[in-house]
């Protein structure tokens, strides 16, 4: 339980921070694609008895770079590039897994996570990867933010925009891999997007959004883990359900953007100073 708690917390922390950029840039589908396609890497590793984590990692890094490359050079829309990588990797993964005898049980673990079975070695690994990603984000925060907001202007200011545009998807890819053990392939998207989306409803500026996202992600993970432990429910889905509950609460009751308060006010907006 201790190990599960630590592993899931690391995953939640890094997902909540990276998730803010994912939500701001509209990259949700891309994170999902990297996670799904890395099933191929995990299956190869599983098939040959290697580490599933490194299998996923080895697949996710080129997959995220490939998505960026294809969308930059093949003059395809980003979602098309993502669709290709998404489906092909998942298909290869399923084919490989189908050759393994206890197919269903193993596949289930990969798809939906199995955080209660995490080893200390894996906890350490998840912690190190999460720490590395966070370190990069702290170091390049202002460049990541500027490029996410306005890439052209950012390039005009001398920010290495191309590097940043490859870096962010890469960070997203690595983050999903680090979180696979906790919530699994199918649900990692929820951990990436839901806390950040919740925070975007509650805070105005990016730093505040990040702080609230981390708190939301952490609370969801801990509460979800306890819920699954005591009610004997699957862990990943429990975490996601709690996170979604928090999001719904924010959507209804956010002081500035909540549906309830907006309906409550139901009066014209306060007089704004005249437009120039």
């Amino acid at each position: 339980m201790q190990r599960a708690l630590l592993a899931a917390s690391f995953a939640a922390l890094v997902c909540s921070v990276v998730g803010v950029f994912v939500v701001l840039r509209g990259m949700a589908f891309m994170g999902d694609a990297v996670a799904h396609s890395s099933l191929a890497g995990m299956s190869v590793a599983y098939f040959f008895g290697g580490s599933i984590f490194w299998g996923a990692f080895a697949w996710a890094v080129p997959a995220s770079l490939a998505i960026t490359f294809i969308s930059r050079h093949a003059q395809l829309r980003l979602d098309t590039a993502i669709g290709i990588i998404f489906a092909s990797g998942f298909a290869v993964g399923i084919i490989l897994m189908s050759r393994v005898s206890n197919y269903t049980a193993d596949l289930f673990g990969l798809l939906f996570g199995n955080v209660l079975g995490v080893s200390w070695g894996e906890v350490l690994l998840i912690g190190l990867v999460a720490g590395g990603v966070l370190l990069v984000i702290v170091a390049l925060y202002k460049e990541l933010l500027f490029t996410a907001y306005d890439a052209t202007m950012s390039a005009a200011s001398g920010v290495p925009v191309r590097f940043i545009q490859y870096l962010l998807p890469l960070l997203v890819g690595i983050t999903t891999v680090a979180s696979l053990k906790a919530v699994g392939i199918v649900l990692v998207l929820a951990l990436l997007v839901t806390p950040a989306a919740t925070a975007a409803l509650l805070a105005r500026r990016v730093p505040g959004i990040m702080a609230i996202s981390v708190v939301t992600g952490f609370v969801s993970t801990v509460a979800g883990l306890y819920l699954s432990f005591h009610a004997n429910l699957p862990t990943g889905p429990s975490i996601v359900v709690v996170a979604t509950g928090l999001f719904l609460a924010a959507m209804l009751f956010s002081p500035s953007k909540g549906v309830v308060w907006q309906a409550w006010r139901a009066s014209p907006l306060p007089a704004d100073d005249a437009a120039v």
Partner: protein, 290 residues
């Protein structure tokens, strides 16, 4: 560009010689995917001048600005910014893109955006300093946006948005300001406010190059006009170059000219965004109907 004269400038420019033209463009060909948009463009902007680039949609105004910024690589010819060939020194050039190209839903405040203008003075991994914040505040005051500094950018009006972009472009005290369509969508009052701010900056020694559809602004407020339609049709004092022949050549047939109070106004049909004449002969298209 090396020059003998050593004029003193008003801004704290350091050891760099502040002489010679602000911008030299020589036989410039530039475009995208191997196809030139700009063809054989040459002109020179003196320090302290305000130059207005006019031309129809698709005439290469934005491409020219992006090439000067070093965002588009020239296919042929050269650009020299503040006496330096190739990519300009970032912190000496300020740039404001068209407002349509900016994500106004992004959760940043007015002062966050102004502060981004200082990033070119800070390298990678470096945090912004107190000096950066003060400079950003100063430029917000200059564009009269200081009182709104804690507003989210999504809450601003059109004119306020332009002024925020201008504040960002000048937050690092650039010597050359490149403004892409800074006046589009503004009413006359807001346009004049903006032009007054630009005059203040020029009084401090800055050079301004802006693109616009608005002939009257160029003829009344700019030192030089650059009439562009993929080629440079004319370059010079507005009173000398803004005549019917040049404007007809610049805007093609989609132009209606009106003279009012000694100023030339041109109205242009926007129904053909690519309504400029093809200069290159098109390759023969395969017949799809067999």
């Amino acid at each position: 560009m090396s020059s003998e004269s050593t004029l003193e400038t008003k801004e704290s420019a350091g050891a760099r010689p502040a002489s010679g033209p602000a911008l030299v463009v020589r036989d410039l060909w530039a475009g995208y995917n191997g196809k030139p948009v700009l063809e054989a463009v040459s002109f020179q902007v003196d320090r302290g001048d305000m130059v207005g680039i006019i031309g129809p949609n698709g005439s290469g105004k934005s491409t020219l600005i992006k090439t000067v910024l070093g965002l588009v690589k020239p296919m042929r010819g050269e650009v020299s910014v503040l006496g330096r060939e190739g990519a300009p020194e970032r912190h000496l050039v300020g740039y404001a893109p068209q407002t349509e190209l900016v994500d106004w839903d992004f959760p940043v405040t007015v002062s966050d955006v102004a502060l981004m203008g200082r990033y070119s003075r800070r390298g990678l991994f470096r945090r912004t300093t107190r000096e950066d914040r003060e400079a950003a505040d100063e430029s917000l005051e200059l564009v009269k946006m200081f009182d709104l500094r804690d507003r989210l950018i999504g809450e601003l009006s059109g004119g306020q948005r332009r002024r925020v972009l201008l504040a960002r472009a000048m937050a690092h005290n650039p010597e050359l300001l490149l403004l892409d369509e800074p006046m589009a969508g503004l009413d006359a009052t807001a346009q004049h406010q903006l032009l007054d701010i630009l005059d203040e900056l020029r009084a401090k020694g800055a050079t301004v190059v802006l693109s616009t559809h608005d002939l009257s602004c160029v003829s009344s407020r700019c030192d030089k006009a650059a009439c562009l339609n993929r080629r440079l049709i004319a370059f010079g004092k507005p009173s000398e170059v803004l005549n019917e022949q040049v404007l007809g050549e610049t805007f093609g047939t989609h132009l209606l000219m009106v003279h009012l109070d000694g100023q030339a106004y041109a109205y242009q049909h926007h129904t053909h965004p690519d309504g400029f004449p093809e200069v290159d002969p098109l390759p023969e298209k395969p017949d799809k109907h067999d």
